[in-house]
């Protein structure tokens, strides 16, 4: 029980934290943690297949693509 609640808290907290960053690279990394939290939560909610997908896409590929975008544009929000 307590694990799920902790994960839920991490998910909401990291979503909000990512959005208030001025440093976009940091926001992208925090969003990676949100994706990882979701993957763990999916695992706890009996969706093993989806957890694997979310772990790969949500914590590696999507933040990676965002990081490329930030590298190709600008790092700090104007």
């Amino acid at each position: 029980m307590i694990i799920e609640i902790a994960i839920l808290f991490v998910i909401v907290a990291s979503s909000i934290l990512a959005l208030v960053q001025r440093d976009l690279m940091r926001a992208v990394i925090i969003i990676g943690f949100q994706g990882l939290g979701l993957a763990l939560l999916y695992q706890r909610l009996l969706a093993a297949d989806v957890a694997i997908t979310q772990a790969i896409l949500g914590s590696a590929l999507i933040p990676g693509l965002m990081a490329i975008t930030v590298l190709k544009t600008r790092r700090y929000q104007e």
Binding site: D49, A51, A60, L61, K72
Partner: protein
């Protein structure tokens, strides 16, 4: 009323609507009563096709949705291609080599290459065992795509472990999608229903020829039929799709 006033008015309206929307959604979600529904039937009938229910739903009952979803990824890949060079007037994607800007350190080189191969092997295992264990085409394909990502980050676009050009990646993607489409067409031609699981022959009354059943059944203890082949097609497509997007975005000019 000038532009600024209109902008502020819009903001207020948007905020009010967001508030109303939040209340409705939270109210609906907290007063939810869930019934098993059609999932029960799937869980009841699925074990006679393959052990992993999610794979069975994805590739058998709702295989057509999966086809559509594969094509969303393809559309996205084509669109990124259009964004970076292809277009109405012909032309092709121009990818700038990123290796020249920074040399990888020795540690990176020593650790990255074996790691890439391990991840690729892991991805292949996930793909091939998708109908028995958690995993499948999407998962396997995207795992391999992460390996590609890692190798691109460490070794640069031109001289990485895979060394695949944009063109060949697109060809792979087309082949993956065509595998899926043609297995569906095989079902249509042999039984009259698109994406019929010919190899498993779940409804023997449809008059599917025996040679086709033998040809398309997977050499495995379970009766998965064409599901593993569809998995391979999807894996090929997802892997090359994400690799293409990574290549194109990494190769964009930073002006």
């Amino acid at each position: 009323m000038n532009t600024k006033d209109i902008y502020e008015m819009r903001t207020v309206v948007a905020a009010v609507f967001l508030g109303i929307f939040s209340i409705f959604v939270l109210k609906a979600l907290t007063s939810f009563e869930i019934i098993p529904g059609v999932s029960y039937v799937y869980n009841l009938q699925g074990p006679s096709i393959a052990p992993n229910m999610i794979t069975v739903i994805l590739f058998d009952w709702r295989g057509y949705d999966t086809l559509g979803e594969a094509f969303i990824l393809i559309t996205a890949v084509f669109t990124t291609g259009i964004l970076f060079g292809r277009g109405v007037l012909g032309g092709d994607v121009k990818v700038r080599d990123t290796a020249a800007t920074r040399q990888p350190s020795v540690v990176q080189k020593v650790f990255a290459a074996p790691l890439v191969f391990i991840i690729v092997a892991f991805g292949i295992v996930i793909t091939l065992g998708g109908h028995i264990t958690p995993g499948g085409g999407f998962q396997g394909g995207s795992v391999i795509a992460t390996a590609f990502f890692l190798s691109v980050v460490v070794f640069g676009l031109r001289k990485n472990v895979f060394s695949l050009s944009h063109r060949s990646l697109e060809t792979f993607e087309g082949v993956g999608a065509l595998i899926y489409l043609c297995l569906g067409l095989a079902g249509l031609g042999l039984s009259g229903y698109y994406l019929y699981n010919v190899g498993a022959d779940f409804y023997p009354g449809l008059g599917v020829a025996q040679w086709a059943v033998n040809l398309l059944s997977y050499p495995d203890a379970t009766n998965a039929g064409i599901i593993p082949y569809l998995n391979i097609g999807i894996a090929l497509k997802v892997l090359s799709g994400f690799c293409t997007i990574i290549t194109v975005l990494m190769g964009a000019e930073k002006k």
